[in-house]
Amino acid sequence: MSVYAMVKDTSVTEAVKAALTKLISQDLVDAVLVAAKSPYSALPMPTLFANAEAMDGIDPLAPAAPFNAARQAATVSRQATGKRLALVLRPCEIRALIELVKLNQCTLENVVLIGIECLGRMENEVFLRHAAAQGDVTAEFLKNTSLQDDITRTCKMCEQFEPAHADIVMSTLGMAENSVLFASGSETGEALLKELGLSPAEKPAERETVTKQLLEKRAAFKKEVFAETSEKINSIEKFEEMIGTCLNCYNCRQACPVCYCKECVFLTDVFSARPETLLRRAQKRGSVKLPTDTSMFHLTRLSHIAHACVGCGQCSSVCPSNIPVADIFTTVAAQVQARYDYVPGRDVQEPIPYLMFEEKQKSGEPK
C-alpha cells in the first residue's frame, strides 16, 4: 500500500524544489539528476546537482524535455560508483532506462528513481515561446488547458503517464493549486518520504476520476493515430512517400533512448555503398536516389528496437524534415510488442524477447 504526502508552496515548482533540495541537504543522496533551467536558457536540461543551494533553477514538472533523459541518466549510472544517486525522470524516460539496464548500459544499484506524473511535453521552440510570454510556464501549463493542447502529438496519445517503476512519484492531477502529491512506489520510496518529513496526506478522491478521463482521452487519440498511420504506410510505395524527404541524417537514431549501439551499423562500411554498386543499381533500376538505403535504415532500425520503443516521440521532434517518425515507430512497435506480449520498461527482470528462445519444442510446423 503506497504512502502519500503533500507539499504546498507558492508554486508547484517551489513545492518540488522544497522537497528535492532536502534529498541532498538531509544527506539522503549524494547527487540528484533533475531537469533545471540554466542561466542561459529557459529550456530545462537534465542537470546533476551535488549541493542543495545550487538547485535553485530546477523545474522537473516543466512541460519540456529537450531529449529523452534516459540516455543522460545512463551515462551517470553507467556503473555503481558507491555514491547514492536520485534520478528525477518522466515515465517514458524511466522505461527507457529500464531497457538500458537490461542491455547492461547502466545499473540501478543505489539509484533512487523519482518519477514525474507527466502531462506531456511541448516541442522545444513552442515551450520557449510560452516561456518568453510568461515566467512560470509550469504553473500556467497546469492551470490553462489551451497550453495543454500544445504538447506534442506523441504525448497526446501516451497512456503511460503514471511512472510504474519509480520509488517516489510526484503528481499534480486532481491536486489543489500549487501543491504536489508525493506517493511511495517501493519500500525505499516509503523510507525516503518519511526521512523527508513531508506532511502525510490522503490521496484526493477526484484524482481517480481525472486520471481516468485523461487515460480515456489519450487511448482514443492513440487508436486514431494508429489507424491513420497504419493506413498511411500499409504499402511500400506509401511508406516511400512518407520518407520521401528523409535526409539520412540519422537524427532520429541519435535521439532514440533505446537505440544504444556505440556505432550504428549504417555508419560502418557494411552500408557505405561503393561506386560500382551504385552504378549497377542505377543500371538495373534506371536511377537510384542518394544517399541510398533510406528505407533499409528505417526498417532495420525498426527490427532492432520495435520491441523496446517506449513512445517518447523524440524521433519526430528531431526530424529536420518533420517526418512523423514517432507515428510510424509507435504503430509498428505496438504490433511487435503485442506479438511477444512484451512491454518495455515493465519489469527489469523481464528478458528481451529475442534472447528467450525455448529449449524444448514440439516439432510441428513452425508457423
Binding site: 542491455l103 560502418t268 557494411v270
Partner: protein, 658 residues
Amino acid sequence: MTTQNKPRIGVYICHCGMNIAPKVDVEEVARSIQTLDHVTVARDYKFMCSNPGQDMIINDIKELGLNRVVVASCSPRMHEKTFRNAVKTAGLNPYYFQMANIREQVSWVTKDSQEATEKAKSLVAAAVGRVFFHQPLETREVSVTKSVLVIGGGIAGMQAALTSANAGYEVYLVEREPSIGGHMAKFDKTFPTLDCAACIMTPKMVDVLQHPGITLYTWSEVHKVEGFIGNFEVTIKKNPRYVDEKKCTGCGTCMQKCPTKKVVSEFNEGLSFRTAIYTPFPQAVPNVPVIDADHCRVLGQNKKCGVCVKFCETKAIDFEQKPEFVTLTVGAIITATGFQAVNPSGMEQYGYGRFPEVYTSLEFERLNNATGPTSGKVVMKNGKVPERVAIVHCVGSRDTRHKKYCSRVCCMYSMKFAHLLREKTGAEVWEFYIDIRSPGKLYEEFYNRVQEEGVRFIRGRVAEITDIVDDATDEGRLTVIAESTLTRRTVRVPVDMVVLSVGLEPARGSEDIGRLLGVSRDGDGWFNELHAKLAPVATPISGIFLAGCCQGPKDIPDTVAQSMGAAGEAIALLAKGIVTTQAEISRIDPDLCSGCKSCIESCSYSAIRFDEARKVAVVNEALCMGCGSCAAACPSSAAGVKHFTDQQVMGEIESILL
C-alpha cells in the same frame, strides 16, 4: 578489401561430364559472367575437379594474378575442400574461394534448359558478388595441456582416471567424500555375476591411490573452472581433514577412542552410528580419517577433549588445519558426479520413515555388507531374521508424479536382493514388479536362476504398505497390498520386511557442477550429452566429457564402458596435443561492441566472455563453433562470423536481385 589487392576474379564453369553441360549452356554462362565487374577470366571445362581442371585454376592464379576464384559445379559439401586446396597450392589464401552449386540445385532439378541456364547465371553472379568481399582466414592452433581433471571418485571417475593415467597422462581426481569408491563401495554383491563389489573394486581403488600419474584429492571440491579446451584453469578446494595425511598410518586407534559415538553414519545410510573422527568404511582409500567439525567436541562445541591427539602415536591430529586452494591447468575434464537414490518418503502410501521395517535398496545393501551395521547378517531392527520379505519395484520410477523415466538398474538389483535373501535367510521372498527389465548379458539367465530359487514374482505395482493386519496372528507385521494382474486378485501379503527398489536421480550438487562447467542439464537434471547416438560422452563444451550415471542411470558394466570411452576421448585430445580452431568462427570488433551482452545470452557454447575492464565481449576462439547466433543478435554487427559477414551475405543477395 585493401586497395593494393584489387579483386581479380577467375570464374570456372564445370560441365561435370554430362551432368551439367547439356542442360546448362555453360559457354553462355561463361560469356555473360565475363562481363561482370572484376572478373578477369571466365572459362568452362569438362571436369573442374580433375587434376587438369585444378591445374587450370593454379596456372591462372599464377599467370593472370588472380586473387579470387569461383567454381560453378557440384555442391560445396562435395568439393569445396578440393578446390580450396588447389587455391592454396597456388599460394592464394584458400578462403578467397566460393562455389556455385549448378548441378544438384540447377541442372539435376530443372526441366527447361533455358531456365536452367538463367538460374546458373544468377547463382554464379551471386558467387562473384560474394567472393568480392571474402577475406583471408587462418586456422589457429591452441596447445593442449597434457593432463585431465576427473570430478567424482566413484567407479566411473576411478575408471576414467585409470584409463587416462595408463595412457601416460597426468590425472587429478577430485572426490568430495573422505574416500573414493562412491556408491559401489556400499554394495555387497553385484549383478549378474554376484561378484563381491569390494573384491572387484578395492584393487582399482588401490591402483588409483598408487598410480604415479594420478593425484588424488579426497574430501575436496571443485571450486572454480575457467579457460577452455586444452587450457582449463581449475581451482580445487581441499576441505580441512584435521588429520595430517603424511603422518597418519591408518592404525585406527583414534576412531576407537573418540568419545563422540552417536553421529549418524551417512555411509551406512543412517542405519548405524560413527565417531566424530572417522573413515566411512574400513577399506577407505586413502585410509586417513577426517574429523567431522560439527560433531567434534573441540571443533564443534569448543569443549576440552583431545582424546584422539593423546592416542595418536604419530601426532597426526592438527586442529589448526584450514581449507586449502589448489589451482592447476588441465587439457580436458571428465565429469563423473554419479547419482543418488530417490528418497521414497514422498510416497506416503509406502510408509518409508513411518514403518521401521521398510528399507530403501541402499539401506538393504548395507545390511548385506560385511562392513555394514549388522556385519552382513540380514536381520530386522529387533535382531530377528525375517521369515517373509517383499521387494517392491519401480518406487519413484516410471511415475509422472516423481521420476517419469525407468532407472534401468532396479529390476536387476532387486533380483540380486531376492537371491541374497533366499541364500542367507531362506525367507519367503515376494517380488512385486510391472515389467522385468533384464536386457544385459547374462541378465535374463540371472532372472531365471532367481526364479529357480523360489522367489515369488507377482506382476503388480504395490498400491500400499500398511501396518493394519487382517488376521491377528500377523500382529506387528506389515501388509503389502497389490493387484496380481495376471490372476486378477488383490493380494494382501503380511511380511516382516519390505525393500523399496528406489530409482536414481542426479547427485546432490550436480547443479553447481553444471553451472561451474557451463554444461546444461535435461528436464530431470542429468547432464546433456552433445548427441545421444553420435557423441554420447561429449558435451556442447568441447574438452568436457561425461562418464557414468551423471549422464543418466546405468549399471556398472555400462558405466565402466562409458568411462573408458570418455577417457578415450580425453586421451585423443591430449595425444594430438593441439586443437586447431575453425577458421569460420565469430569475431567481435571491440570498437563497435556496446557491451550489451546479447551475444553472450545467445551463445549456446559459453564461448564468449565479458571483459569487465574494457566492457566488451570477447570470443574464445577454441570454443566457438561458428553458429552465428551472436552475429544475428548483435544490432551493430560488431559480432560477425568470419566468412559469413554482412557484406558477403548481402553482396550475394544483391547480386541475385539487382
